[in-house]
């Protein structure tokens, strides 16, 4: 079974993965204007500043959109379909592409409340997955 691609940390996003390894979800916050942004990148699109802080998130949010792959259009999906991918909008505002653990694809709906479920792939990478909020 082909695996889904594993994130390859790079200079501009290494802290994101470092925090997740310890179970923390942090996203970039512009140290100049306070704008949150994700995925990580060098400069603030709102004010242009390079100064950045890593702001801790509550890990709570809601499903903003979702898809369900039924055809394995990519080899990595071969033994996984039907496979749901969701976009979660955090209560703080940023949106992340992720998966829901323990939720069947047919039970996913927009607006559904979810919370962070950090899931270790290996020693280096922990994925920011989510689960239905209990």
């Amino acid at each position: 079974m082909t695996d889904l691609p594993v994130p390859v940390p790079e200079t501009d996003n290494q802290p994101f993965w470092d925090y997740l390894r310890s179970g923390e979800l942090r996203v970039q916050r512009c140290a100049s204007c306070g704008q949150l942004r994700h995925p990580p990148r060098p400069a603030c699109g709102a004010c242009g500043s390079f100064e950045v802080e890593w702001a801790g998130m509550s890990g709570k949010g809601a499903v903003y959109s979702y898809i369900v792959s039924h055809q394995a259009v990519h080899p990595a999906l071969a033994d996984r379909v039907p496979f749901a991918t969701v976009v979660v909008e955090l209560d703080e505002g940023p949106r992340l592409t992720t998966n829901l653990v323990d939720v069947e694809p047919e039970d996913i709906e927009i607006g559904q409340r979810v919370e962070l479920a950090p899931t270790a792939l290996n020693d280096e990478i922990t994925l920011p997955l989510f689960r239905a909020r209990r």
Binding site: V8, Y66, I67, V68, V73, L77, R80, N99
Partner: protein, 377 residues
């Protein structure tokens, strides 16, 4: 824009469209270019400019040497993926208007079915690197995954339905059934066929998805002045512009929401003046979203517009994708839409709109668009 009606598309050419061409992408490219030059009444030695999609595998050097071009005065490519056709026209028109080149050929030759397939991420996958680290590990692996995510949110916001998506596909098929070059020329499609078709990536059903095609296409651009002396009625480039998308995805706005207002302003045209439209239909829902975001219809009303038959050649007020488009003619990454846009102002489409004067072509749901102007009304 200053080059308005100063540059023209003087020649169009294409190969046959198939699932397995049995030819190299370079061969498809050269055959399409030869056809376009023949159409214009020009010779290979007249060409001094070449432009291509960055994802096209035939380099300008290979093409120039096979055509016998000794002095290539202008060449270039535009990056992103399939969605840069109108951007290439914009660049080429700028170069011709600036006097940097006299005859520029824009080409696309691709074994998109038998070779590297866009639909399987062969061209666009990033192996978990760069931005791919935040999408691919979660199953967002191909263009259709990201676009389906956007379509789902848009359905939620505006109430657009799968059945309305289906009417886009059915209309494209009706047009393809009139076009002998189309892949699905002899295959009808009903709304029930669409609604009963399986999901590929929900909310996209099979018949929401474009074809994968082997084939080639080419355009010959030159000054309007020179075009007047050539074989075909000139398709004057009334307007051409491109737009890059912002990194921050809204999942609601397409790039047409950005390009649209600027485009109509730069073009000094009103949407209501447009007679016929081609829209980049990699996925049927995006025809509706583009119609809305370019302002042809108010947001949230595109679905009803399509459902009530307005985009049909037969009786519609604004016929869309009159050759069958990417859904039913061929998927040549916007090239076949540009070719059909030219045919419409020449009066040569198989679904010809009567007295088509302004022909609008989008080649990426807002990444770029052109308006071609034909003869007098």
């Amino acid at each position: 824009m200053r080059f308005a009606n100063q540059v023209a598309i003087a020649g169009i050419g294409e190969t046959d469209y198939s699932r397995e061409s049995g030819r190299s992408e370079l061969m498809l490219t050269l055959q399409a270019i030869r056809a376009a030059l023949d159409d214009a009444g020009l010779q290979p030695h007249d060409v001094d400019g070449l432009m291509r999609w960055s994802v096209d595998t035939s380099s300008e050097g290979e093409v120039a040497s096979n055509l016998g071009i000794r002095d290539l005065a202008w060449f270039g490519e535009v990056s992103q993926a399939g969605n840069v056709g109108a951007a290439l026209v914009t660049h080429a028109a700028s170069a011709i208007y600036a006097g940097l080149a006299e005859v520029v050929v824009i080409y696309r030759g691709v074994n998109g079915r038998s070779g590297r397939r866009y639909g399987r991420g062969d061209v666009t996958g990033r192996g978990g690197r760069g931005g791919g680290a935040f999408s691919e590990p979660f199953g967002l692996l191909t263009p259709q995954h990201g676009l389906a995510m956007q379509a789902r949110r848009r359905m939620h916001e505006f109430g657009t339905t799968s059945r309305q998506f289906g009417m886009v596909a059915v209309t494209a098929r009706e047009h393809a059934n009139r076009n002998p070059r189309a892949t699905f020329y002899d295959r009808p499609l009903t709304i029930d066929d669409h609604q009963q078709s399986r999901f590929v990536v929900e909310p996209f059903r099979l018949f929401d998805c474009c074809l994968e095609t082997d084939g080639g296409g080419a355009l010959v651009l030159t000054s309007a002045e020179r075009a007047r002396d050539l074989k075909q009625p000139a398709a004057l480039i009334r307007a051409a512009a491109q737009a890059g998308y912002a990194a921050e995805r809204t999942y609601v706005d397409t790039s047409a929401a950005v390009l649209g207002p600027r485009f109509w302003r730069q073009a000094k045209l009103d949407r209501g003046e447009i007679d016929v439209v081609q829209i980049y239909d990699h996925f049927a829902p995006f025809v509706i979203f583009a119609l809305e975001d370019y302002g042809f219809v108010p947001r949230g009303e595109g679905g009803e517009f399509v459902e009530s038959g307005c985009i049909r050649w037969d009786g519609g007020t604004l016929p869309v994708n009159t050759s069958g488009g990417h859904l039913s003619e061929a998927y040549l990454q916007g090239m076949n839409h540009l070719i059909e846009g030219v045919r419409q102002v020449r009066g040569a489409s198989t679904s010809q709109v009567a007295d088509a004067h302004y022909s609008f072509v989008d080649t990426g749901v807002g990444t770029g668009a052109i308006v071609l102007e034909g003869g007098t009304r």
